[in-house]
Structure formats: C-alpha cells, structure tokens
C-alpha cells in the first residue's frame, strides 16, 4: 500500500475508528518512521484535537478548581518543606600583623612536605584498591548488559507475537475507584491465552491483591488469576489460559481482593472492559 493510499487509514486511525487488523498495520508502518505518514498522522491528530472546540463550553463547578488548587498548594508546600537552602556567607579577610600569617603559612608548608611523602604512598595503595573495585563493577555491568540483551530479545519476541493478525487487542478503563488506571489485553486466539498489562493502579498492600476476572455472557465470574502492583503502578500477567469450558467471555474486570484472591468478586471494581467477539 502506498503512503498516499494509507493517508485515509491514518485519518481513521487518528479518529480511533479502525478495527484491530488495520490499526496494527498502521502502527507497524508508523514505527518505521515514515516521514510522509508521520506528517499525515500529525495533521490528522491536529484536526481531531480541534473537533471539541465545536462544543459549547460548560463551566465546571467552582469547587473543582478550588479542590485542584488546594491539592497543588498542599503538594508544593510539602515539597518546599522537604527542601534545603541557604548559602554559606563569604568569609572576609582579617587584618593584623602581616608576619604572623606568613610564618604560619611556612610552617604549614613544611608539615605538608613531610607528610606528603607518606600520603603519596597511602594514596597509591588506595588507588590500587580502587582499580580492583572498579574491575568488579565492570564485570557486574557486563553481566547486567547480557541480562538486558536477553530481556530485549524476549520483549522483541512479545512484540512480534502481538503484531500477528490473529491477536486481538481490547482495553480496560479505570472506574471511579481507580481513575488513573488503564489496562490492555492481547488475546492470542491461536493459543487461547491473554496477556494483560495494566498501569496506574495503586500499589498492593500486604493484605490485599488484585484479581482479574473473565465474565461470561451469562454473568458467570471466572477468576483469571491474581497479581500485585508495585510502587510504579504497573503490572502484567502473561499467557493467561482461557478455560475451555468458560464459554463466551463478554467482559474483563479487575477487582481489589484479600491476599490470595477470592472465589467470587468481593472488592471494588478497579477496571473493566468489553471483550470483542471472537470472530
């Protein structure tokens, strides 16, 4: 497909109107860095970003602004209180008999010369130790580099898998209990598994965990497993097997549950999303 013909797809993609196969094709092409399509995409996004200006503005409740600015002021105050400042004042030179400081300087120089030789030897010894330490650090970093290379290879394999046409993607949005959370499921229909990625969730506590649920068309809730979220708010569950007998899954949801999970959902719903039809 030429870039000129792809321009129409880019418009639809910017509007979020593409189905998965076409969206994947567009994303793969944009990742090549094609300048023509990148420019067309930027123009399409700029067009759509202006679309809401056609709506009549609606004044939000005044308390929203008050609450927002109070949070900002509170956070700024906490940040300022934890900072440190101050500059050491300059020392002014003292006056007095000129020869006293000169004599003191000569005496100090003699002490430095005598001690200097001893210090030099000590320093040589410390440098040798330092070199030995750095050799260990380099060896450790080489191991880390190899580990990162292995991780990158793994990640590239995952990207290649997600780019397959038989992998469906759908999203989970955060509810009022997790307004900043967002999730994405990559459904590999060839293997009957889900890869679930989530960000923006509050970190798990010692006695609570998160649980992912398959919710069927006839309202059965089947656990897809539990997961914990670290300080960065991110988690993933890979290759979640979809039970053969679960039937048609219509919704995926994440709830907050006691540590170890629950047989049925008991906690607050944090994310939910509709599952696209399998065909």
């Amino acid at each position: 497909m030429t870039c000129e013909k792809r321009r129409d797809l880019l418009l639809l993609h910017a509007a979020g109107a593409l189905d998965d196969p076409e969206r994947r094709e567009v994303l793969v092409h944009l990742d090549t860095g094609c300048p023509v399509c990148a420019g067309a995409m930027a123009e399409a996004q700029a067009t759509l970003a202006h679309l809401p200006l056609g709506l009549d503005p609606v004044e939000p409740p005044a308390r929203l602004r008050q609450r927002l600015m109070a949070r900002v002021a509170d956070e700024s105050a906490r940040t300022a209180a934890s900072g440190s400042g101050g500059v050491a004042p300059l020392r002014r030179p003292t006056t007095g008999n000129w020869w006293r400081p000169a004599l003191a300087a000569v005496a100090a120089s003699l002490v430095v010369l005598v001690a200097g030789g001893f210090v030099f030897q000590q320093r040589q010894s410390r440098l040798a130790d330092r070199i030995s330490d750095l050799d260990e650090v380099v060896a450790g970093q080489r191991q880390e580099i190899q580990h990162l290379r292995d991780s990158l290879d793994g990640a590239m394999n995952v990207v290649a898998r997600y780019a397959r046409p038989d992998v469906r993607v759908f999203e989970l949005g955060g509810t009022e209990h997790a307004t900043t959370a967002a999730g994405r499921v990559f459904w590999d229909r060839a293997t009957g598994t889900w890869d679930f990625h989530v960000a923006g969730l509050a970190p798990s506590s010692t006695d609570r965990t998160y649980q992912l649920w398959f919710i069927t068309a006839d309202q059965r809730k089947v656990s897809a497993g539990t997961f914990d979220v670290g300080a960065d708010g991110v988690a993933r569950m890979l290759e979640i097997s979809i039970p053969d007998d679960v039937g048609v899954i219509s919704v995926a949801a994440v709830t907050d549950e006691p540590r170890g999970g629950s047989l049925q959902p008991t906690g607050q719903i944090r994310l939910a999303g509709e599952v696209p039809a399998s065909t």
């Binding site: 109107a17 609606v58 004044e59 939000p60 719903i269 999303g273």
Partner: protein, 210 residues
C-alpha cells in the same frame, strides 16, 4: 491571519501568557500557571467530558484527573509534537473514553455497583456557556463550528460516534445498520474535509520535523 498565530508564542495578541509559557511554568512547579490553564481550557475540556460521558460526576472526576496529571507529570507534554491545547484535548478524550468503556462493561454485568441516570449533556450548575476568556480561542471555536457545519449530517454523525462515543467503524456500521464501507467512506471524507477547513486554524501546530 490572526488565526494562524499559534498560542505557542510568548504572549497572545490580547496580552495573556501563551500556552507554551504556562506549560513551562507548570513544569517549574508554578501552581498559578496551572490555574491559568484551567481558566483558559477548563470549560472546553469539561464540555468534552460531558459530551463523551454524559454524566456530571464522571465528567468532573475526569476533568480533575486531567489537570492533576498535567501538574504531576509535566514532562509528558512534548511541545515539539503539538500544541498544549491539542495535548489537553487528547488527554481528556483518552481518559473519558477509558471511563466510558469501563462503565459500558460494568453495566452489562451484575458487577455494576449502580450508576447515575445518564443525562444527555448534563450541566450541573445550570450553566451552558461561559464568557470567552481568550479571544483567539473564541476565533478557533468559530472556525471549527463553521467547518463542522460544512459536513453532511451523515459525515458529522459518523465522526462524532467515532470520536466522542469511542466506537470503531464496524461498531458504528452495526449501530446505524449501514454497510461498513459506507461508514468508513463518511468518516474518511468528513475528516479530509475538516482537515482542509481547519488547516488555517492549526497551521502552526503541526511539527515541522516529522
């Protein structure tokens, strides 16, 4: 043309601080700058939230999330990729669509914890308009409305169902009981027409280095 002058310059023609200056100040932890951005765009973004979510409480939460995100993570705005206004609108739409999807999913299950009655374009305090804070923004609004008015009813509806309701073109086709090719054609032709009409509005906002 006045419309060609982006809000990314230091001062707007009416003397207010530009979006670029305000975003830079937010990055330097200037709370007053965030307040000015809220005053400039809050009502437009709130209207966008209401259009997508059609419920006041959800719309209020998303609006709060958006500005808190701008405050907490100013580094996510990249001035080389577009205007601050486009960034705010895109972020607001994204968060609103996420919330809409979660709500739709919950309402189709018995996990639904109860929901507010959907009210079309609810205006909590009974106000439906706000005095324009910024003349340039008002000019842009007029230009966008003229451009939208030039679309056919079918084109406008298809674009709005995609942009505001988060539906794919196949979902729109199913909802309208129209052929998929017809829906795609309407969205495509409508957006091409909008792009042509609005190019003079955002002319300074598309990055030159793509």
């Amino acid at each position: 043309m006045a419309l060609m002058k982006s809000l990314s310059d230091d001062r707007t023609p009416t003397g207010g601080e530009s979006d670029a200056v305000l975003m830079g100040a937010v990055a330097r932890r200037d709370g007053a700058a965030l307040g000015k951005l809220y005053d400039r765009y809050g009502s437009q973004l709130y209207a966008l939230c209401l259009r997508i979510l059609r419920e006041g409480p959800d719309a209020e939460e998303v609006l709060d999330d958006v500005f808190w995100e701008v405050w907490r993570r100013p580094e996510r705005y990249d001035a080389t990729r577009g205007s601050a206004m486009a960034y705010l609108i895109t972020l607001t739409r994204s968060r609103s669509i996420d919330r809409l999807r979660a709500r739709r999913a919950l309402r189709s299950t018995s996990l639904d914890e109860g929901s507010a009655d959907p009210i079309a374009a609810k205006t909590p305090d009974g106000e439906t308009s706000t005095p324009l804070v910024d003349v340039e923004l008002g000019q842009r609004r007029s230009a966008v409305r003229r451009a939208i008015a030039e679309l056919s009813e079918d084109q406008r509806r298809a674009i709005e169902m995609s942009f505001y309701d988060g539906l794919s073109h196949s979902e729109i086709a199913s909802s309208l009981d129209e052929p998929l090719g017809t829906v795609k054609s309407r969205i495509r032709s409508g957006l091409i027409r909008l792009s042509g009409s609005l190019r003079s509005v955002y002319g300074g906002e598309v990055p030159d280095d793509v």
